[in-house]
């Protein structure tokens, strides 16, 4: 049982360490409006990676496509580069914003030659050619701004150690503690390369979620972080970015990266997105990022503002009213007001969350209970199978989701399969052990008195195992309610959406609007299943005798409190 608790805590902390985008509250409105004008059969799937700017750009793409009458499905906040690119490559999504440096190093895994470093156009040409040859995807022309990595320190640290460049940091910053995103730590164009090129050695490096690293730096918990050049929070916290004096970082020009299907068959959409080329400059992007990350404006309206500034959209009266309501809620600073204002969204997300959990859980019950019963019949295999399911449990959710993209794409199906996999183990294991350990004297006596194997199973073993089985279902349900928040990373929706978006946009009220209902849901699910567990307990356990298995009543509270 300790293992389960560890899992739940692991989920919760993983959750906190992640950042993603969300479906917007207003998402439905433009989609509905464009149905009448829809010309092509299938909607365009626009995705983003899980950080504010990617989110904004995806929204920009979506709105510009919708302005031209195209139907759009938004899948913001896909896990990380591997998941987003994997989804694009397999055609599960059609377009997402990517950066040339990332494309070169993290996707093509090519090295940055001096030639490419000098010539941005040559880099883009190389990238576009190789990406199409190797993966069939296409880069559309860059939008007009670059968003390179920015190694940032507090002004006080920079002054004290007189740090201006990354070389200074390598020379005089050995006592400093770093908090880098996990992505940056692992990438060849991240910490790995910095160590090689600059000989950078810091006293400690800890992985931090994009959402928390700025406040960690500002509060002094760490001394150095990685940011993006266009991050709005750099300004907010008065941070100093160190110059890349050895020209280590490649250029990170933002551009739409599109699927083979879109590149080959949808010249209309390609033309619409290409019309943005060179029009979004660094000033505009930094302002937009700051509006989202610092001022707490919502992504839809900021993206709309950008398009109006670009002359793509005319001001919308109807939309403006929605914005006004939103900003009132944000400005009030009152969590309860915010939650109340978001109640319709929260309700929809909760319903989707419950549907995901229920579907995965039912499918797991249908498979795991018969499996547990079968295993009791062949106990030699049981340890192997149960052990194997246990190993599946240890695969990190994000890795499992990434594995499934080639087969299942993004959206609801991979999320369901992942949740199903996680729910199998507690149910199968408890069924197996419950059926196996059912009162051996009673089972033997029944056999000796002429009970058939089916009668022994249905009348003796299963009824006696019912509390254990139900405890397994309950454990699985609570785990799944927690794990389902991660479904947001592959566009499956649910209460994870506001959690990861809020983390990405540093909006704690938005985080709470997902975390509080998710925690409440875990508690309610645990209580309801606990009640069912008592109801289906064998008769002899229902007469005021000490209850057999009160399994993990504290688990819900564990996941609840750590989900904040």
């Amino acid at each position: 049982m300790t293992a389960h608790r560890v899992r739940v805590i692991a989920y919760a902390s993983l959750l906190i360490s992640l950042a993603a985008n969300t479906h917007l509250a207003a998402q439905g409105a433009p989609a509905t409006a464009s149905i009448a004008r829809q010309r092509l059969d299938s909607p365009i799937v626009v995705a983003s990676k899980p950080f504010g700017e990617s989110y904004l750009l995806a929204e920009l793409f979506s709105q510009v496509l919708e302005a031209r009458g195209r139907a759009v499905v938004r899948r913001p906040g896909l896990g990380a580069t591997e998941i987003a690119f994997g989804a694009l490559r397999t055609g599960a999504i059609d377009v997402y914003p990517e950066y040339t440096g990332t494309g070169l190093i993290a996707i093509l895994r090519d090295s940055l030659t001096p030639e490419l470093r000098r010539n941005r156009n040559a880099l883009f040409a190389h990238l576009a050619r190789e990406s199409t040859t190797r993966f069939g995807v296409a880069w559309l022309p860059p939008l007009g701004f670059a968003n390179g990595y920015a190694i940032a320190v507090r002004r006080e640290t920079a002054t004290r150690l007189s740090l201006r460049t990354i070389s200074d940091l390598a020379n005089r910053g050995r006592a400093l503690r770093a908090g880098f995103t996990a992505d940056f730590i692992g990438r060849p164009d991240g910490l790995v390369g910095l160590r090689r090129i600059y000989g950078l050695a810091l006293s400690s490096v800890r992985p931090l979620a994009p959402a928390v690293k700025y406040s960690a730096l500002a509060s002094g918990a760490v001394d150095v972080i990685d940011g993006y050049a266009t991050d709005g929070l750099l300004e907010k916290f008065d941070l100093i970015t160190l110059t890349d004096d050895l020209n280590f970082f490649p250029p990170y020009d933002a551009a739409p990266l599109v699927s083979r299907r879109m590149a080959e068959r949808d010249s209309d959409a390609v033309a619409v997105l290409s019309s943005l080329a060179g029009r979004v400059d660094e000033r505009m992007m930094r302002t937009a990022n700051r509006r989202v990350e610092v001022d707490g404006a919502d992504v839809t309206s900021v993206a709309r503002g950008m398009l109006m500034e670009l002359g793509v959209l005319a001001p919308l009266a109807a939309g403006a009213r929605v914005d006004a309501r939103d900003s009132t809620a944000r400005a009030s600073g009152n969590v309860m007001h915010y939650l109340w204002a978001q109640r319709a969204t929260i309700r929809d997300q909760a319903i989707r969350h419950i549907a995901l959990v229920a579907a995965a859980l039912l499918a797991a019950i249908v498979v795991a209970i018969p499996l547990g019963v079968l295993l009791e019949r062949s106990r030699r295999m049981a340890e192997w199978v149960v052990g194997g399911l246990g190993v599946l449990q240890t695969i990190p959710s994000i890795a499992l989701l990434a594995f499934m993209i080639p087969w299942l794409g993004v959206g609801v199906w991979p999320a369901l399969v992942a949740l199903w996999v996680y729910a199998l183990y507690p149910i199968a294991r408890n069924t197996y052990s419950g059926v196996r350990d059912a009162d051996p004297d009673a089972v033997a006596a029944c056999e000796a008195m002429g009970a058939t194997p089916a009668q022994r199973l249905l009348r003796v073993r299963l009824p006696l195992a019912a509390p254990a089985i139900m405890a397994g279902v309950r454990t699985a349900a609570v785990i799944t309610v927690g794990a389902a928040t991660l479904a947001a990373f592959i566009g499956a929706g649910g209460l994870g959406d506001p959690i990861v978006t809020g983390l990405a946009l540093a909006d704690s009220r938005m985080v709470l609007s997902g975390a509080v209902p998710a925690a409440g849901l875990a508690i309610v699910v645990d209580a309801v299943l606990g009640w069912i567990e008592r109801k289906i307990a064998p008769a002899h356990l229902q007469r005021g005798t000490p209850r057999g298995r009160r399994v993990l009543p504290s688990r819900a509270t564990t996941s609840a409190s750590s989900a904040h």
Binding site: D439, D441, Q455
Partner: protein, 251 residues
Amino acid sequence: MSLSLSAREVRHSHGGVLALDDVSLDVNAGSITALVGESGSGKTTLLKTFNRMIDPDAGSVWVGDVDVRDTDPVALRRRIGYVPQHGGLLPHWTVHRNVALVPRLAGANEAGDAADAALLLVGLDPARFASRYPHELSGGQRQRAALARSLAGKQQVILLDEPFGALDAISRAESHEAFERVRLARAFTGILVTHDLSEAARLADRVVVLRGGRVEQAGTMADLRQRPATDYVENLLARAVAAHASLVGAR
């Protein structure tokens, strides 16, 4: 009508250990035979060959004039009562339902009268005990309920595997009385596995002493007492008498 029981040169080993070594046994219809011996003597193994919980490696086992190998084990077992050492009552069934186990397994929805009659016979008033659960009974009451269960399906053969061995003296005495009442009321053939010679003397018509998978001696208690076939049997008897004498002396 009761059925006779017999085993012919039964040989069986499990786990490489010879548990029964050419054992033959005859139990007359309507009589009780006690199998006595130490742990590992083969008495439980022999008992279980009669309801095919164990199929011996060699030899034949007969219930009435039927070789058990020719029977369907499930049908055979429903005709043979069985009382294990720890009762083996289903904890989630009431006493009444437990006692009606065999009729229920056979598909009867209600076996009320037979179960009530069996409960009365073993001294458990249905009005008081029928709706209780096994954990609400004492150990002796549970064993008597198990005895009732072995009768409620009109069984003509009952196999008892140390049924009263784990009980305290008073419960055991009550259970012995119940067993004797059952014998007066019902005609059945029984095999009683026990390690207690005095219990064998009291409840059984004949005694078979087993040792290391072989029959050491078979006969009535009087036969054993008067003409012990081996030193082992003589020792066994002497120890039982000594225990009894010390009890009498203490009184």
